[in-house]
């Protein structure tokens, strides 16, 4: 007979990573499919780029709210929207 192993330490990191990834895509307040969740030794790190500082703050707020015990760090940038300085010639 096998026993369900419950270490009492919460779900394995891989499931947390998957849940965060789906939260970012499926939560209407976020709806970001381009954020990468990477497991590091001390924390989960969120990478990617969004269209506004407001959206970056909302991502961190929603993840912290849903996973209050998971250490999260973020390296999410806001995409620049300046006019191009060069063109591409396609003969």
């Amino acid at each position: 007979m096998s026993h369900h192993r419950d270490s009492g330490a919460g779900p394995p990191d891989e499931y947390v990573e998957a849940e965060i990834h789906r939260l970012l895509a499926e939560d209407p307040a976020v709806a970001e499919q381009g954020i990468t969740v990477v497991r590091r030794e001390r924390a989960l790190v969120l990478y990617g780029e969004v269209e506004s500082p407001h959206r970056r703050a909302e991502i961190l707020r929603r993840v912290a709210e849903r996973f209050p015990d998971v250490p999260i760090t973020s390296d999410i940038g806001v995409i620049r929207a300046q006019a191009p300085t060069e063109i591409e010639q396609l003969p």
């Binding site: 407001h54 006019a83 191009p84 591409e88 396609l90």
Partner: protein, 258 residues
């Protein structure tokens, strides 16, 4: 003959972003004949977000042509979204095309959202459960309508506009495991079925800019997170004396450094 094409995709507009692109967009009449939008104009595809798109991309002084993306379908308000965009003078393509008279000639643009499925030899098949067959048939039908639209246009230069990618080249940087959700080879096959000069797409935020179809058509991923500027500008057409530019060999095997 040169036609100047500006393009961007995946701008994901909502109220918090309105105005960010506008200063760069005001320069468009000086540097482009047309602006093409490669889908995912909104975050959730609501009518109110579409009004943000209309405000940002309407009345630019150059024609604006778009396809929708998967985000623009999220709230099942596609007819309302399309109406808001069209009321702002934006042409929305889905399995059809438009021909614009530009200074450099008649530019034909055929567009479709496209769909996933994967790439040759590593793709989903029209087999098995109804859900899987529906998935692949959506891809096939989308690609067929793109091919048909491309072949129907009477123009001097032909451009294909999609949201999903027609080639894996421009997905480099994305996890390999999700390629089947980012594009399908059938779109590339449709693009190669016509004398297409350039194919533009978005959707792959972590992808790369440049690729080519198996038939040699240049493909550019213009997703905003990839190009990292308000839009890219392409000058398509003959702009050099033929003596100055070496033709690309069909075999592609000769290298100048070998």
């Amino acid at each position: 003959m040169v036609i100047r094409i500006a393009a961007v995709g995946d701008v994901h507009l909502d109220e918090d972003v309105v105005g960010r692109f506008r200063p760069a967009l005001e320069e468009l009449p000086d540097c482009a004949d047309v602006l093409l939008l490669a889908g995912d104009l909104t975050r959730h595809g609501t009518e109110s977000e579409a009004r943000c798109v209309a405000q940002e991309f309407g009345g630019l002084g150059v024609p604006v042509v778009t396809v929708l993306g998967n985000h623009d379908h999220q709230c099942d308000q596609v007819p309302q979204v399309v109406k808001v965009l069209e009321d702002a003078g934006i042409t929305v393509l889905e399995g059809n095309g438009v021909v614009l008279d530009c200074a450099g000639g008649r530019l034909g643009i055929a567009g479709v959202k496209g769909f996933g499925g994967g790439f040759a030899g590593r793709c989903a098949s029209d087999f098995g459960e109804p859900e899987m067959k529906a998935f692949v048939r959506t891809t096939n039908e989308s690609a067929e309508s793109l091919g048909k639209a491309l072949r129907s246009l009477d123009c001097d230069m032909l451009v294909a506009l999609t949201h999903y990618s027609p080639v894996p080249d421009t997905l480099a940087g994305e996890p390999l495991e999700i390629y089947p959700f980012l594009g399908s080879y059938q779109l590339g096959q449709a693009i190669d079925s016509a004398p297409t000069a350039l194919a533009l797409h978005g959707h792959a935020h972590a992808g790369t800019e440049r690729g080519t179809t198996p038939g040699g058509v240049r493909v550019r991923n213009v997703a905003h997170p990839v190009i990292k500027q308000a839009y890219s500008v392409f000058h398509v057409g003959d702009q050099h004396d033929s003596d100055q530019v070496s033709p690309i060999g069909r075999s592609g095997s000769q290298r100048s450094w070998s």
